[in-house]
Amino acid sequence: MNLDFTDAENAFREEVRAFVREKLPVAIRDKVSRGLHLTRGEHLQWQRLLYERGGWSGPGWPKAFGGPGWSPVEQYIFEEECALGGAPRLIPFGMKMVAPVIMAFGNATQQARFLPKILAAEEWWCQGYSEPGAGSDLASLRTRAVRKEGRHIVNGQKTWTTLGQHADWIFCLVRTDPEAKAQRGISFLLIDMKSPGITVRPIITLDGAHEVNEIWFEDVEVPAAHLVGEENKGWTCAKFLLSHERSNIAGIGIAKRELARLKHIAAAETKRGRPLIEDPLFAARLAEIEIDLMALEITNLRVLSAEAEKRAPGPEASILKIKGTELQQAISELILQAVGPYALPFAGAAPGPAHAANRAAQYLNLRKLSIYGGSNEIQKNIVAQMILEL
């Protein structure tokens, strides 16, 4: 038993750290540090820099598809160092979601057509899973595709589509057999966002951001070549995807970065003439979070290590999702408290200290963490039923 990283892993960490320090554009780092949303161009700029470094834009990708072929621990180190260095989160929809599905279930033509452009950040993908009536309960989705002359004609609506306004492609779960029940009769389609009949409508969230969208499909034609896997067997892809998107789900790197920010703010703010960080009650709340994060980091490494040994990765990721999102939310809440009344100015106003700007919007925005990607309630169901077998 050994909790230390190997020399090779430490060297790798240094390599990533140096890369982020040298290559991450200052403007992007600054926006991330202020909790601001990046433009499409900024996201792509960073992904391309990673791509040029040797396929680092696909940290989970095998070498066969142009990725770096990293172990789970290396991927963990990479994502942690990116977060600590102030890099933006990699947009997961292409790289972490649709790509593994195309690798596993797509044919050679699909792999050749789509994968290189995902890795090279030439095409932006978004996700067509949730529907107004099907959130956690994906099996009840109603967007339908009818086969007609070698094409699928798609009608319906997807929602909560993150950054769909930037997307070139969307991968969709659609119902292809209206008679089949629940998970059966669903197919996995790749759809060009420029197809006639697609409408993207912004959803403005409580923080005032345009991060999610409704996507409407009206007689949208999809070539048969863009069906992944077998027709009516899309649930296999869906399940596969759901388990793959969960790597690095705990967000340890981001939590560490935000905890450091919290400490920085609490050292700068004063309460009764002393640094807030020395207030015993505040210090205790902070320490509780810090200790929980220490524990979660080790729990995460334990899961990774089991994964590396090819033992079950699976439902343990739900624990990481619950605890990781709770911690990120708790940190953002304590940041709000640390900032105090200057957390109230909103929508870009920054009359207080620089560290106060945008913190309320960030707190509000992060409420999504316990809702999306399978709500934390659903994750607890998974823990109880899949791990504890209740």
């Binding site: 109230l344 100015p345 919007a361």
Partner: protein, 369 residues
């Protein structure tokens, strides 16, 4: 022991409720919020016409001379509609201050009629809920006073005709001045706040004021007005929590997943039960705050109010977060009112001293014997 409302209080509640439902619906509020001023003179006048602005004005000055329970009833009913106008700031806090200063009876009458608005500019950077923290300086300048300093996150400052500015005199005491908004040396730097209202940084640079601008009010009077404001804020929060709870329960009853209303899932049932318990405890403490906020026994008053703010802060956080959580993605949307309730509850937590500040105050007051 009697927790029932009087007939008048019931009517007051009904009046406010009807006004908010009819004349201040959520879509109308959105238009007001997005307007240049961010509040509506028309709505303000309507509140005046209903007598609501006169509620806290003593009868001798043409008001209704109501008490804190009436204010509680009004704030409770105003809460869910998320009023953007300075009711709490002007018709509660500033009025509570001015009614102890008889020389300003005329101003109060104008305020009651909706003709002018006064707002307390007291908080400063670094105060963090300590009402005794005032760094703004006041010194004699001939027969005048000169005021220099900065007030922060002053809600509704730009809507006000008058600011009531606190400053520290050369003898260390806190003094209050009534300052017209167009006074030379006074400047505002306005911005929206997370709950959809407007606030401003107030800069006072060499502001000259005559002796008559000085209020006949000391730190004690200021403290009493703030306590009345805190009790009213608690009542507003309770009104919002009730609305958020009701909407969430309603959503749980109607939203279907996995073939049944999600309200059939026991974990969500228990969460809703926890929300209700937070709400009931908050309502109890809001009632206590209303009953005690005018108490002459300062220790009893401060202890009850700090305890109330702790309870309400906790409840606001839990109910606000869970209302969003249980609404799922819909709870995150700007389109539904639930996220706006959450934002106002979040703002309330940070106002008048946050939860930990009041927890510590409660400990300190309790330790005094």
């Amino acid at each position: 022991m009697d927790f029932s409302l009087s007939e008048e209080q019931r009517q007051l509640e009904e009046t406010v409720r009807r006004f908010m439902a009819k004349d201040y619906a959520f879509e109308k509020r959105r238009v007001i919020r997005d307007s240049a001023e961010g509040w509506s003179r028309e709505a303000w006048q309507a509140l005046a016409d209903l007598g609501l602005l006169a509620l806290n004005v003593p009868e001798e000055y043409g008001g209704l001379g109501a008490g804190p329970v009436d204010t509680m009833v009004a704030m409770n009913a105003l809460g869910p509609g998320l009023l953007l106008e300075p009711y709490l700031a002007s018709a509660v806090v500033a009025t509570a201050l001015l009614r102890e200063c008889p020389q300003h009876a005329g101003l109060m009458e104008q305020m009651a009629a909706g003709e002018c608005i006064a707002v307390l500019a007291h908080d400063e950077p670094g105060a963090r809920g300590d009402p005794g923290y005032v760094a703004t300086r006041c010194r004699p300048a001939g027969t005048d006073f000169q005021i220099d300093g900065r007030k922060c996150v002053v809600g509704h400052a730009a809507a006000a005709d008058w600011l009531i500015v606190s400053a520290r005199g050369e003898d260390g005491d806190i003094v209050l001045f009534l300052v017209p908004l167009d006074t030379p040396g006074l400047s505002l730097d306005g911005y929206p706040t997370l709950d959809g209202t407007r606030a401003a940084e107030v800069h006072l640079t060499g502001v000259r004021l005559p002796e008559t601008a000085r209020l006949d009010a000391d730190r004690e009077v200021l403290g009493r007005a703030l306590d009345i404001g805190l009790a009213a804020l608690c009542a507003e929060a309770v009104g919002i929590m009730k609305a958020a709870l009701d909407a969430t329960v309603d959503y749980l009853r109607t939203r279907q997943q996995f073939g049944q209303p999600i309200g059939r899932f026991q974990a969500l049932q228990h969460r809703a039960a926890d929300m209700l318990m937070h709400y009931e405890q908050a309502k109890s403490m809001s009632t206590l705050a209303a009953m005690r906020c005018t108490s002459k026994d300062a220790r009893e008053r401060r202890r009850a109010l700090s305890a109330a703010k702790v309870t309400i802060g906790r409840a606001a956080c839990f109910i606000g977060q869970q209302a969003v959580q249980l609404h799922g993605g819909m709870g995150m949307s700007d389109e539904l009112v639930v996220s706006h309730w959450f934002k106002r509850l979040t703002a309330i937590e940070l106002m008048f001293g946050d939860t930990d500040t009041h927890l510590q105050q409660f400990i300190e007051i309790s330790a005094q014997s």
